[in-house]
Amino acid sequence: MRVVIAEDNALLREGLVALLREREIEVAAQAEDGDGLLRIVEGHRPDLAIVDVRLPPTFTDEGVRAAIEARRRHPELAILILSQYVEPVYTSELLASGEGGIGYLLKERVGEVRTFVDALERVAGGGTALDREVVAELVRSRRAGERDGGLAGLTPREREALGLMAEGKTNAAIARAMVVTPGAVEKHVSNIFAKLDLPATDDDHRRVLAVLAFLGAGEA
């Protein structure tokens, strides 16, 4: 897996590079702003770009906009956004921006090295990795917004499984997180899809997108 990094804070950029190299992930190039990101994506054709939301010169949502632009030019590029805050609006925009893998994680998750590298690999493979706080935010607004049926009809365990699915986790990962067997997870998942009236599918990625569409982020 070859990655590029766009992060303006040298401390974080170097920390990230060191961590990835220890894990034998090739960091092809680094950039400090949005234009730089577009340049290194063009020059190095990486599998994945790790992008900070706030980048120079505006220090607002420069990173998100550059990432969406990079995606427009290279639809197969996987994007992992690292941010210091949760903003569901950005998640929706990224999910709507194309087919490739998308991740949106809080920066401190990098410290959970194994989980972080799992997420990286998932996103590079075209999957999804959403921070649990993003998912919690989505679930909260969805739950509050509905009058009947929907999430209210799920058992607490099913709701937990739904949240883990929305984070982009595979059945095996969900089983580990919930400390149950993969078979039990499959049962939860099929119950959830039946109760929420979602189209059943074996494709993990499509499954995540269906769940996210149900939660109001991105498109099915």
């Binding site: 210091q84 903003e87 920066k107 990098v110």
Partner: protein, 358 residues
């Protein structure tokens, strides 16, 4: 037979709408009568030119007609009596001068009425002046209020900018360092697989760093949510609507970025109002309108809930104001207004008007 066309005949028909028409008619009639009289004078063998008196009389009626309407319609309300007085005086003086000239000059008798009218006008002007123009003290106070309004707004702008700077500093400084720390602890943990008890210590340290990061994040969000700083009021309010517990329809008509202090106040008005809707009318839906009119931002959050909401009394001095009372102080500090209307059975509307500049 000297004043054949009395103005009363035309004035009676003058109902205001066709004033121009009646005045023109009046003038035309006067012209016609003047011409007729002149013809009569010529036909009766000329002689002393007496029609000049008839012309004078006709002109007087037309001028009175014109001045009367002018006084009612055109003059500024506040100064109307005085201006009318000036016009009448000028008119009477002019008439006297004309009469004096027509009657062949001689002793300049109009000097006496002119002096009297002038004195009367002077007294009137003095009275009006004293009543309408602010005293020196008043003017000083007005200027002082202007200065205070401007400086207070300036102070609030500076404060808002400072708070955003602090938010940025937290983001780039302490928070970034903690994130870097968390990464390093994560890497250390990876290398301690053979010493699980030390790895556990490191994991706990990482947990502490994570908690500190979260606290800083919440603090920063309380100052100004990132999306407000990044994308402005409309995007931030739309984000609020999306994550609200009730369905929210946002209608925003603002094309530009407003001063930070106004954006922040408006944002918190909407946030608090939507929280209240979710709390007190969970089955309602809400509508948020943002519009800028005459340099004032109007924010309205209306719901179709049960209504009947009552504003909790202002927080005591010393206690930090919360809820609506807190919003009210925030809005009033900007010279804005906050109104809550909540008729039983109709729904609740919170409306804030925030001046955007000076």
């Amino acid at each position: 037979m000297i004043f054949p066309a009395m103005p009363s005949t035309t004035d009676a028909r003058d109902d205001g709408d066709d004033y121009e028409v009646t005045l023109a008619l009046h003038a035309a009639l006067a012209g016609f009568v003047g011409l007729l009289v002149t013809i009569v004078w010529a036909a009766t063998g000329a002689g002393r030119f007496w029609p000049v008196w008839v012309w004078f009389g006709l002109i007087v009626t037309v001028v009175v007609h014109a001045l009367g309407r002018h006084g009612v319609d055109v003059l500024e309300q506040r100064m109307r009596p005085l201006a009318f007085h000036v016009e009448v005086t000028v008119f009477v003086v002019a008439a006297e001068l004309v009469i004096w000239a027509l009657s062949g000059g001689g002793y300049f008798w109009p000097i006496w009425p002119i002096t009297a009218f002038g004195a009367l006008l002077g007294v009137h002007a003095l009275i009006v002046n004293r009543r309408l123009l602010p005293s020196l003290r008043e003017r000083e106070l007005t200027e002082r209020v202007d200065v205070l309004t401007r400086t207070r707004r300036g102070a609030l702008d500076v404060q808002a900018a400072e708070l955003r700077r602090i938010e940025r500093d937290l983001h780039d400084g302490a928070q970034a360092r903690l994130v870097a720390l968390s990464m390093q602890l994560g890497r250390a943990e990876e290398r301690l697989e053979d010493r699980p008890e030390v790895a556990e210590l490191v994991r706990r340290a990482r947990g502490e760093a994570g908690a500190a990061i979260k606290e800083l994040r919440d603090l920063a969000r309380g100052i100004a949510p990132p999306v407000l700083a990044d994308r402005g009021l409309v995007a931030a309010v739309e984000a609020l609507g999306q994550r609200s517990a009730v369905p929210v329809d946002v209608d925003a008509r603002i094309a530009r970025r407003l001063p930070p202090v106004v954006e922040t106040a408006a944002y918190f008005v909407v946030a608090e109002a939507l929280t209240n809707v979710a709390k007190h009318a969970p089955t309602a839906s809400a509508r948020v309108t943002l519009a800028e009119r005459d340099d004032t931002l109007v924010v309205e959050v209306a719901d179709d809930g049960p209504g009947g909401a009552e504003e909790t009394p202002r927080a005591d001095a010393g206690a930090s104001p919360t809820g609506l009372a807190g919003l009210r102080s925030r809005v009033e500090a900007l010279d804005g207004q906050l109104r809550v209307t909540s008729p039983e059975g109709v729904g609740t509307a919170i409306r804030a008007e925030l001046p955007c500049g000076l």
